[in-house]
């Protein structure tokens, strides 16, 4: 395996990791505030569909992105109303949102375009184009570092860079701002936050909405940057892999970056090789696909570093009267 191949695989891993990363950070905000969200998948799917539809209609990827975020925000609102306002079961609400997105995208897509749940293929300004970083061409000649800069770091869509930028931003918001401190507190001990005179409901809704925005970005990346249009069930379990990455990262932003890059790499390897020969043992591609889930179960089992979720996660907050 030469350097060019390795860079190609890593390059594709970066692209594939971006939706995971955005969805993972989305889940991070929500779960840190004590709202479990297994509806990441559904929000991504809805965002992918609407961003592709609007991008096709307006021929603008940016308008598509806005529409995608709006779709994701609507589902996030449903999740918030169900799990915060009506104190319903957050997991059941997430399941419902996944099915809602899975069904509605096809029903509406079929009614609008009549292509069996697809949107028409996007081209030109309806997709996010690859951006060349400055001096990428000039530095290409430098051995090792040149190709890494030119092929691996440069030449991605703007959403990839937004995803990477979201990691330090999330870290800064959660660990260096008052809002972040309160948000984490509301996930650990909402009663204490309430006693301090800060609205638990408001904070949790804010977290759920941020989650919706980030899922919208992730979905738009799937349909208007990674792919060229929406395809039925195109999120293909990525919301759950993001959830797995979130647990793998133990609800921390920088670790989330690492986990998502790892899972992106696994996907890239799985796409490139049908089966991999490691030390004489034939590893089937299905094993590579299942590996993120297996790793997550192992982490959850606590045999390799225990993953402890936010303490108040999943429990509706009932104010004492």
């Amino acid at each position: 395996m030469d350097l060019a191949t390795i860079i190609q695989i890593l390059d594709s891993a970066m692209r594939l990791a971006t939706p995971l990363l955005l969805a993972c950070l989305a889940g991070l905000f929500s779960e840190r505030a004590g709202i479990f969200d297994i509806g990441l998948e559904g929000k991504m799917l809805a965002a992918a569909f609407l961003s592709a539809s609007v991008a096709f209609a307006t021929n603008s990827a940016w308008l598509g992105l806005c529409a995608g975020m709006a779709a994701s925000l609507i589902l996030a609102t449903i999740h918030g109303v169900a799990s915060i306002t009506f104190r319903g079961n957050q997991l059941i609400s997430g399941v419902a949102i996944n099915f809602l997105a899975s069904g509605l995208t096809v029903v509406i897509g079929e009614a609008w375009f009549g292509l069996g749940g697809r949107t028409p293929a996007l081209a030109g300004p309806a997709r996010f184009q690859e951006i060349d970083l400055p001096f990428a061409d000039a530095l290409q000649g430098i051995p090792v570092l040149g190709p890494i800069y030119h092929d691996l770091l440069s030449g991605h869509s703007v959403l990839v860079y937004m995803g990477l930028a979201a990691v330090p931003l999330t870290w800064w918001i959660l660990f260096r701002t008052r809002f972040g401190l309160r948000l984490r507190a509301v996930g650990e001990n909402p009663a204490a936050v309430d006693t301090a005179g800060v609205s638990v409901v408001g904070l949790r809704f804010a977290a759920v909405m941020i989650c919706g925005l980030l899922c919208g970005l992730a979905g738009a990346h799937l349909a208007t940057a990674l792919g060229a249009g929406f395809v039925k069930e195109m999120s293909a379990g990525r919301g759950f892999i993001a959830l797995a990455a979130l647990i793998f990262a133990k609800w921390r932003p920088w670790y989330a970056l690492g986990a998502c890059l790892l899972f992106g790499l696994l996907e890239a390897l799985g796409n490139r090789y049908q089966n991999i020969d490691i030390a004489g043992i034939d590893v089937p591609t299905q094993f590579m696909q299942a590996l993120p889930y297996i790793l997550t179960v192992v982490i959850l089992a606590g045999f390799v570093g225990k993953a402890i979720p936010p303490r108040a996660g999943g429990e509706p907050y009932v104010k004492e009267r």
Binding site: S83, Q90, S93, I97, L104, V106, Q286, Q289
Partner: protein
Amino acid sequence: MTDTLPKWVDIALIPLVNVTLALIVSGIVVALIGENPFEALRILVNGAIGSAYGWGYTLYYMTNFVFTGLGVAVAFHARMFNIGGEGQAALGGLGVALCLLFIPWPHWSIALIAAIFGAALFGAAWAAIPAYLQAKRGSHIVITTIMFNFIASALMVYLLSRVLLVPGAGGSPETARFVEAVHLPNAATVLPFMGFPRSTPLNISFAVAILACFFVWWLIWRTRIGYEIRAFGHAAPAAIYAGIAPVRITMIAMLISGGLCGMMAINSVMGEAERLVIDPVQGAGFVGIAVALMGRSHPVGVALAALLFGMLYQGGAELEFEIPGISREMVIVIQALVILFTGALDNMVRGPLEKAFVARRKRPSKPEPTTPLEAGGHPERKQVEP
């Protein structure tokens, strides 16, 4: 809080209101995509129960959903949310296939019993690891069962495309057909006077599903294990204080849950496909969640909810055929809304109803003698709480 509502409101009125809301919202969706919701409903109901052919499919789907619904319901009784029905049922399919492919059974009846055991064993085994991790290591069962669904799907693709694949199956990953002797009798054979066409997949597994309903009722409300499961689900600390071992109950409840989900495969794999294909479950594991929620985890409710979803699945197929503007996925939308309204937004309906009933109860009653009329009696309470 549930004490404030009469029982019939809790088990009948609220689910009914929830489902009605879900159907109204579904109707709005149909109207928004430019079709007539009442016409759609008519076609759906007619397609599902308007003919023996429709009934044959409706009851076939119902059979699947009864198994997975009961599975999810048993876990609900222990206050656990088993999202892994999909994977457990897929593994159940593997159990059925292994059982029928490699052992020469003389007659379908013996094979059916063996297949039930095979399906339940494999389904339970797939639930065992998440259950153990929940019981012993505190890993959240929802997350682990979701992960196990994906692992199961990868495992099944691997087994079907590399291990169990028959040469010359036309490229689609599937096992060889089961031998003629183990084909389950279908409705046309068992009930010739009912007029089910031979093409409908309804088969003897339907009877097994009904028996499973009785079994779950007996298990949950008539046995010691069932009592322990319910006690643990209602108040885990109290149950532990009373000497109920949490690890044991978690394991038992999840094993039964996984076993029931796995048993779905006798209907879809042994009864219908008569071979193991890729994804024999077709989402039934997830429908089980909606069914258990709607049926309030009671076998009777589960059976009725499964019938409703059976109608939706069969009627939905007819709907797509009759009105091409409405795609089959409309059924998934309805399913999602049922889960949303009966599961997550339950308090939206329950809250106002509770207020209404409390208000009615607080209304001053007619003057009554303050001393009890008879020893131990309490006229006021007797009157209000029948």
